[in-house]
Symmetry: D2
Subunit: 144 residues, 4 copies
Amino acid sequence: MSRPTAYFKSHFPLFRSLQTRWADNDVYGHMNNVVHYGLFDTAINGWLLEKGLLDFKAGSTIGLVVETGCHYFAEMAFPDRVEAGIGVERIGSSSVTYRIALFRNDETSASAQGRFVHVYVDRQTRRPKPLGSDWRQVLGEAQL
Amino acid sequence: MSRPTAYFKSHFPLFRSLQTRWADNDVYGHMNNVVHYGLFDTAINGWLLEKGLLDFKAGSTIGLVVETGCHYFAEMAFPDRVEAGIGVERIGSSSVTYRIALFRNDETSASAQGRFVHVYVDRQTRRPKPLGSDWRQVLGEAQL
Amino acid sequence: MSRPTAYFKSHFPLFRSLQTRWADNDVYGHMNNVVHYGLFDTAINGWLLEKGLLDFKAGSTIGLVVETGCHYFAEMAFPDRVEAGIGVERIGSSSVTYRIALFRNDETSASAQGRFVHVYVDRQTRRPKPLGSDWRQVLGEAQL
Amino acid sequence: MSRPTAYFKSHFPLFRSLQTRWADNDVYGHMNNVVHYGLFDTAINGWLLEKGLLDFKAGSTIGLVVETGCHYFAEMAFPDRVEAGIGVERIGSSSVTYRIALFRNDETSASAQGRFVHVYVDRQTRRPKPLGSDWRQVLGEAQL
């Protein structure tokens, strides 16, 4: 089991500010390990929505998650604020691998970090669709 | 079934700004009815924590929820922002009835509104504890 | 604040067996008040799906929640099992008011109970649709 | 990006039957990728509780999650049932690496599979604690 080193904020080109919620804390008084993935989803899809790439109601292209993973270094807990750092590790024909890290309040070293792989597919057929130039341009802005 | 009228922002003395999350949207593309209660919990406990009244890790007094309810008027959806209006309807010996409403983005009429009743109890015995003067003072600031 | 008496299992014509999950427990070591509503949703929609009334992917009629409420009498916690008792209190033209209670493991007195009001609407227009005879027949089987 | 092959049920020594919930389905009509991790947590901790190893309320040893990951092969959705296959990949001094897979209804090939690494620590100090012989015996029953 190789254990990675925690990223710093300086490793990321893009940030999203996220809130924690009361029920994020589990019986041990800290943010449950599952919540981190909900924040990954929110950070990445929130960015894609804001950029006009994703339209989850009517768009013909949707992102299906094919792989996720997370290493946990330090506890976070409601009511902490979370800064999510996002970077694009790899842009494939129809898939994107994101690197993402969660920073507690004003800390500069990640409390948790992981990967998130989206395959972009046609909403109806669920077959992979090559990423258009609009996607490549926006994703390129956050490329590592 | 009497249906109440939606509150306006002017009906509330106190507001908390909340975020929505990707998974708040259910299969119908809007915020699932359950999420509203998670926002109630977050808004009220977040306020009590900030005021130094609630210490969920070590405090001797904790708030148990004995009643909640919600009327839904209009759909909200991620990535909407939510303003939660909070008011204290009634302060009992050891219980507090909160009125709470959720306003979508900059709207002034509530998308949903409800009630939330906390009984404050001793963490160990779970028996009701009379609210101290510190609690009564802070709660009084948001009394309707 | 009038406080109702807890229902017994004998008050309900229909039951659904539900599981709890690890993250249902909050920082106080019991099922968070929000989870109850997720169980209401699951019990009622699960029943409607099984009866062939609801088709959330392609059906023209969907159920929108316009009111929910819950009184909490006793704590439940993962890994408890939950029996959800369901009864139909009122069938309107296009709305249904359900009474629902959650029973912990083999207990016969409810740990929590509430109401859940669905308005059935056209998926596209989101306008109320009169309930057809197929709906009325099935709902009638659980009428109180 | 190497993509693993889906496991079969025959790869696992131990199974837990889990339910899905209404809100597990996201806007795309399938179980959101985050829910899988909630099922991992529930399956593993449920097993440890049943075996008398974990006592999350009063026990001196608690399990902290230090790494999780999941590959997604096929969609699942409420109201599917899920069979969670669990196997112990590695028992360290104070850590355990679990392999876990989720099987939809009666399918024999995994819809998703992942890893889940617990470090067992003292509740108060949060320092790693060597696993006792009771833990090693039970974990050994599910060793791969």
